[in-house]
Structures are given as C-alpha cells and as structure tokens.
C-alpha cells in the first residue's frame, strides 16, 4: 500500500482531523491534529488494512521561526511479510507529523500503543522539551508530570537541542564555559 492509500483510509475514519498532507517528496506524510493523535495511533495499529505494528522513530524538529515544534512519527508494518528478500522488509510504511505550539508543547503519549515510544518520548522530552501526557515513566515537575529524562542528568536545566538553548555556565561546581582561560583548572 502506498502513502496515498493509507492517507485515504485515515481520512475516511478521521476526516478533517488530518490537517494537511504531502506525498510529493522523499518522505510522504500527513499532518494531523494533536487531539486526535492517540485515537489515530490505536487505529493505525489495530486496523486490519494498516496493521502498523512497529514505531520506527520519533523525531522532533524545532521550527523556531514558525514558533512551533514538529513531532515526526515514522511507522512501519511488518505483518504479512513472508519470505522477505531481506530483514526489515516493510509491507508498507507511513509517516505522521504533528505540529505543536512551541511555548506549550503537549502531546498524548502513544507508549501504550507502541512500547518503543517509551524511550523515544523520554528522549524527545529530554532534548526538546515536548511533554507527553500520560507517559508511563512520568515524574512530577513544576508544570505537572512529564516524562523522566533519559540522557541528561535528572536535575538538568533546559532542553539542549532547542535552537534557543543557552549553555550552562556551571554544573555542580564544575565550570562549563568554553572560554579557554576560565576553563583552565586553578589547582
């Protein structure tokens, strides 16, 4: 099944919750409404025609000029692939993008649909600050629960891959400035 057909199935079920679509480039995708995303994820996995049983990747893009984040879900269906010419052969694959406001990026978790989303969402929160509501590995923060950090230390300040991230000048007494003279040790 090609991306147009998959999008048509989605459109028949969700209608105008699919905001826009682009099948021209190297990465055909649809852009969907954040509120419909969890239902759509369940549908994508459980529908007999689609059967997207594998979440390949979650990427997050910082569109600073547009003041929004784009969360990219790459899906992959392995069901019904027999005698595949090589491993990882896909029956079909698809991409869903979700655009979020940059200052308050909240998205429902899909870790209950695809287990792979657990760590991917933790990473997306750690490096980009997208909060996934209802994540199974959540901790309490100042603005409510958010996924636990996965790469940076638990007390890390800020989200390093944001385009407007400011580097820490000091971390637990260790100077972190990149100026040579200030970085040299004093002992």
């Amino acid at each position: 099944m090609i991306a147009e057909q998959i999008a048509e199935i989605l459109r028949g079920r969700f209608g105008d919750r699919i905001v826009e679509s682009n099948f021209k480039g190297a990465h055909p995708h649809v852009v969907v409404d954040a509120g419909a995303w969890h239902d759509m994820a369940v549908f994508l996995k459980s529908d007999d025609r689609l059967q997207f049983d594998m979440l390949r990747c979650i990427s997050t893009v910082d569109m600073l000029e547009d003041n929004q984040f784009v969360v990219v879900y790459d899906l992959h269906s392995t069901r019904g692939v027999e005698h595949a010419p090589e491993n990882w052969s896909a029956r079909h694959e698809f991409c869903v993008k979700i655009k979020l406001p940059r200052d308050n990026a909240h998205l429902p978790t899909v870790a209950d649909v695809w287990n792979a989303a657990d760590w991917h969402e933790r990473e997306a929160f750690d490096l980009m600050g997208v909060v996934f509501d209802g994540h199974p590995d959540s901790v309490d923060g100042p603005d409510g629960p958010h996924p636990r950090r996965i790469l940076c230390a638990d007390d890390w300040v800020g989200y390093p891959l944001r385009k407007d991230y400011e580097f820490p000048m000091e971390y637990h007494g260790i100077p972190a400035v990149t100026e040579y003279g200030q970085t040299r040790p004093v002992h």
């Binding site: 940076c152 991230y165 820490p168 972190a176 040790p185 002992h187």
Partner: protein, 204 residues
C-alpha cells in the same frame, strides 16, 4: 599507635567529619607511610624500594567511558601488552586500583561518578587523562553543552596523554612518564611540597 593507622581514624576514605570531600590538590592526600619521617639516608634508601614497588605494579582500574577505552583495551591485550610494565592487572574495583585511566569523554552526569570512584581509590593514587576529551574537552570543547572541559576540573590529573584517540604507544609512553614521576617521590616529611608551599607552611 598513630604510626600504623591513618590520622583520620575510623572514618571511611574520602570522608571528613562525615562529609564527603573531594580533594582539590594532589598534596591533600598521602598514604600511611608518607609525611612521617625526616629526610635522611634511611629514608632515601626506603624511597628507592617503595618507589620501585609502586612504579612496577601500577594496577589500573577497569574503567572506560568512550572510544578511548577501545585503545586502552588494545594496550591491555597481547600486541601492546601493558603487562610488560607491571600495569596489566586491571582491577574491577577502585579499592584495589592505583591508577585511574580516564579513557573517554566525561560529561556532567558522569563527573560525579568519576569523582566518587577516585575517592574510593586507596592512596597513593594516580590519574591519567587519556585522549583529547579528558585533556580539555576535545571536539566537544565549543559545542558540547554537557561535556566537562577536561577531567582535571573534576579530579587531579598526573599525566595527560593527547590524541583522538591516542595510539596505544602513546598510552604506554604516558604510563612510563607516570613511572618516572613515581620514582621521584619521597616519603619524607613535606617532600611533596614545592618550595613556596614549604615557606607558607613554615617548613624549612
């Protein structure tokens, strides 16, 4: 009795008055025999024997952080064979190790662990900063938001081995320079102080 036991009493190493302390300087630490005798003929002969023993059995800690650790493993294997220098016994616990080869990028999350491992090592203890990252941040110097710009900001370093990663021969060279350093040590009182520090401390 004080002669045989460390001054800190029953307190675990790395703790002072119940608080974990991180030594900032090499001179803050010593083993049980150091800094107890005046310089003299006997001490000089003792130095030779002690230093020979210490320099000939530098046991490193099994501790690798990144790609430099691969080179460190090569040094430990038969082709380069760090055991020729008596430093082949990689210990799986810091409490049995004399040498910490910090092989790889140290980031802020790891820095406290490096500190703790260093504190758990018995004195005399030595640190080799292996590779560009541990020497001064390396390729992450400018844009590495979470990389410590040199492990000497965390623990005192004896030998710097540059390279990205260093050739195994470089690490062996660093080990030999560390042996040179150990062979110049003395257990005599205040021998480790510089002239300026002696003057400040009121020692001749």
């Amino acid at each position: 009795l004080n002669f045989f036991f460390p001054k800190s009493g029953n307190e675990p190493r790395g703790f002072r008055d119940g608080v974990e302390v991180f030594p900032e300087r090499e001179s803050d630490e010593m083993s049980w025999i150091d800094n107890r005798f005046e310089e003299g003929l006997i001490v000089t002969s003792l130095d030779w024997a002690i230093n020979w023993g210490r320099a000939s059995s530098i046991w490193p800690m099994t501790f690798g952080l990144a790609c430099c650790a691969i080179e460190m493993m090569a040094v430990g294997a038969s082709r380069f064979d760090i055991d020729r220098f008596g430093a082949g016994a990689f210990r799986a616990t810091p409490r049995q190790a004399d040498l910490m080869i910090v092989a790889g990028t140290v980031n802020f999350k790891m820095a406290s662990r490096v500190k703790r491992l260093y504190n758990q090592m018995p004195e005399p203890r030595y640190v080799i900063a292996m590779g560009a990252c541990t020497v001064g941040g390396g390729p992450y110097y400018k844009h590495g938001y979470n990389v410590v710009k040199g492990v000497d900001l965390v623990v005192p370093v004896d030998i710097y081995v540059p390279g990205c990663p260093p050739r195994p021969e470089s690490l062996l060279e660093g080990l030999m320079r560390l042996q040179d350093k150990i062979k110049n040590q003395s257990v005599a009182r205040d021998a480790w102080r510089t002239t300026k520090e002696r003057a400040l401390a009121g020692v001749a």
